[in-house]
């Protein structure tokens, strides 16, 4: 319990303001949405398809990119090399870019004139206005979350555990798969959830590469610009609810995994 001093009261007041700032608009939106409108949104196949598309494309993007992000995170945590801080800057770059600009950059890369677009074209795949293009746009803006979280996880693995495994006869790859990865797993899952959630909520970058097929954030924008707030609101509420369910589900998975960090503390 915080002691009631003028200072602690001021801190409490300012903290409450921020929390209220996050909660109030969301609560307002929920309160303004009638059950009937929400039911209608659920019954709307366009809405259902767009939410489903958003979820699976973001999940697949996160899953595929994880295979490359985890090794990169490990390198960033364990290796020293020239220009490392520049590489870290590059990893963080998508976070600071305007998302529409990021979308344009991805579009240039995956359009038929772009490097990846041309390569995809040779196998008959068009990336623009395609779930694959959406996945790339989502991944572009959300990979830093997975890389940075996994990097922190690997950095927190005591190096002497890896050294001990080496002296016990493990190859470096075995050390990675039996020691580093399992102990950093919680941070990796957290990063996975963050990347998935960030990708799922992306609008700016995705709308540049694919207006159709429509992901939920684009559909919400389309409903809003064509029909107004009242039409966009139920879709937003439904999407937020579904996203929350997934978010909580994935968080539970990560919490239910054994808490190795507690064990690490007990050991040191």
């Amino acid at each position: 319990m915080i002691r009631q001093t003028p200072f602690s009261l001021l801190m409490l007041f300012l903290s409450s303001l921020v929390l209220l700032f996050i909660l109030a608009p969301l609560l307002g939106m929920f309160l303004h949405t009638e059950g009937y409108d929400l039911l209608e949104a659920v019954n709307d196949s366009d809405v259902r398809q767009s939410i489903w598309l958003t979820l699976w494309v973001s999940f697949v993007a996160t899953f595929i990119f994880a295979f490359a992000c985890i090794p990169l995170a490990w390198i960033m945590a364990r290796k020293e090399f020239p220009l490392k801080s520049m590489v870290q800057g590059l990893i963080d770059l998508p976070v600071v870019l305007p998302h529409t600009a990021a979308g344009l950059a991805v579009l240039g890369f995956i359009s038929r004139d772009g490097f990846l677009g041309k390569a995809a074209d040779t196998v008959g795949l068009t990336l623009v206005n395609n779930p694959a293009g959406i996945a790339l746009a989502m991944a572009f803006v959300s990979v830093p979350f997975l890389i940075n979280s996994a990097r922190d996880g690997f950095a927190a693995v005591p190096e002497r555990l890896e050294k001990a495994a080496l002296t016990l006869g493990a190859s470096p790859s075995r050390v990675f798969f039996t020691i580093s990865l399992p102990i950093a797993w919680r941070s990796i899952i957290t990063g996975f959830v963050m990347m998935f959630a960030r990708g799922m909520s992306e609008f700016g970058a995705v709308v540049m590469v694919a207006y159709h097929p429509m992901i939920a954030p684009v559909l919400i924008y389309e409903r809003f610009s064509s029909f107004g707030l009242a039409w966009a609101r139920p879709v937003s509420v439904l999407f937020i609810l579904v996203a929350l369910v997934f978010f909580i589900f994935l968080r539970l998975i990560s919490i239910n995994r054994k808490n190795f960090s507690a064990e690490k503390n007990a050991e040191t």
Partner: protein, 356 residues
């Protein structure tokens, strides 16, 4: 002649601002070698070099008559136990001990037999199915030892094995280490505590600022320290900067405060450092009749209880630190500011070579 088990030849290694310089050691099979040094002296780094976690910049490492300098860690026949054991938190005790065998793709039933056997030997068979985070320090130590010993290493490398164990468990672990050594396993044990060296070592090496400054049997090293650093390490606190003079055939050491100490026969440099062990100085209530000994009147400045009994600081022109037992202390009936006499034999005063 005993077989040489571990030989380091002129090992040099730069580690950041620190450097291990020209380290050479010869350790016969079955030896219990204690490497003594302060934290940051390079002793743990040396263990990592022997284990193969780091490569020396120059010099060679021989284990069991094979040059292993460029050999892979797993082919060196060494086992390293880290200071805080480095037990894998994501595995059970069984998983930890079985780990090295799994790395070697040993068959499952053989792994089980070997794990059960070694766990039995180390009295941890009842812990095999346990997770590791709620084990005690002593149990973790045994798990770490079992995990290392299961590969039958020729040289067991221990990094401060007693530092993280409760005082009450240290005797147990010491006994266990002695037993292992008796079975023939060569041990290199790194510590900062000279008492560990005295209680375990058959040979001790003192490392300071990345250099091996003295090695030999512990009795010899601690009674003939080559430098002030080694002397301090063995608990010696009576150091005096002296001039050595020969008066009519008798060697004397004259300190800055003009105190003169009679020395035993020998050859002495012009000046240097004289050390006197705290437990070789006697305290007397009245003036003793000891014509051939050093004998001075003194005032008691401080009395502090110590491991040994009591540590008495007296001022006899020079300050002396003296260790006496509690029984001796009771018999003396002295207090701070008491006037006493102190004495020590000429042979108790040892000259250090060099300034240390």
């Amino acid at each position: 002649m005993l077989k040489k088990m571990l030989r380091l030849e002129g090992i040099n290694k730069k580690l950041g601002n620190f450097r291990l310089t020209d380290i050479s050691i010869n350790i016969p099979e079955g030896e219990y070698f204690v490497l003594l040094g302060r934290s940051g002296s390079g002793k743990s780094q040396l263990l990592e070099l022997i284990a193969g976690l780091k490569k020396p910049d120059s010099g060679n490492i021989w284990i069991d008559n094979q040059d292993v300098t460029n050999k892979k860690i797993q082919n060196r026949k060494t086992g390293l136990v880290f200071q805080d054991y480095a037990i894998f938190p994501n595995m059970t005790v069984y998983g930890n001990i079985a780990y090295p065998l799994r790395c070697r793709k040993t068959e499952k039933n053989i792994i089980r037999k070997k794990v059960e056997h070694i766990a039995g030997e180390l009295n941890i068979a009842h812990l095999l199915d346990r997770v590791t985070y709620n084990l005690s320090g002593g149990e973790l130590q045994r798990v770490a030892l079992a995990r290392t010993l299961i590969t039958s290493p020729k040289v067991l490398l221990l990094d401060e094995p007693l530092a993280s164990v409760d005082a009450s468990l240290r005797d147990d672990i010491r006994r266990l280490l002695r037993q292992l050594n008796k079975k023939g396993i060569t041990i290199v044990h790194v510590t900062h505590d000279y008492r560990e060296a005295i209680s375990l070592a058959s040979c001790v090496g003192v490392i300071h600022n990345g250099r091996m400054i003295q090695s030999g049997p512990p009795d010899y090293v601690f009674s003939n320290p080559v430098s002030r650093f080694v002397a301090r390490y063995s608990g010696i606190r009576n150091f005096y900067k002296v001039r050595f003079i020969n008066e009519r055939g008798i060697w004397k050491a004259i300190s800055h405060s003009k105190a003169g100490f009679i020395l035993s026969d020998g050859s002495y440099p012009e000046d240097g450092i004289l050390i006197i062990r705290s437990d070789s100085i006697k305290i007397h209530k009245n003036k003793p009749v000891l014509p051939d000994q050093n004998c001075y009147s003194a005032v008691v400045r401080e009395i502090i209880p110590s491991d040994y009994g009591m540590e008495i600081t007296v001022d006899a022109g020079e300050r002396f630190f003296i260790d006496i037992t509690r029984d001796e202390f009771r018999a003396l009936q002295i207090a701070e500011m008491s006037e006493v006499w102190i004495s020590f034999e000429p042979s108790a005063a040892v000259a250090l070579n060099g300034s240390g």
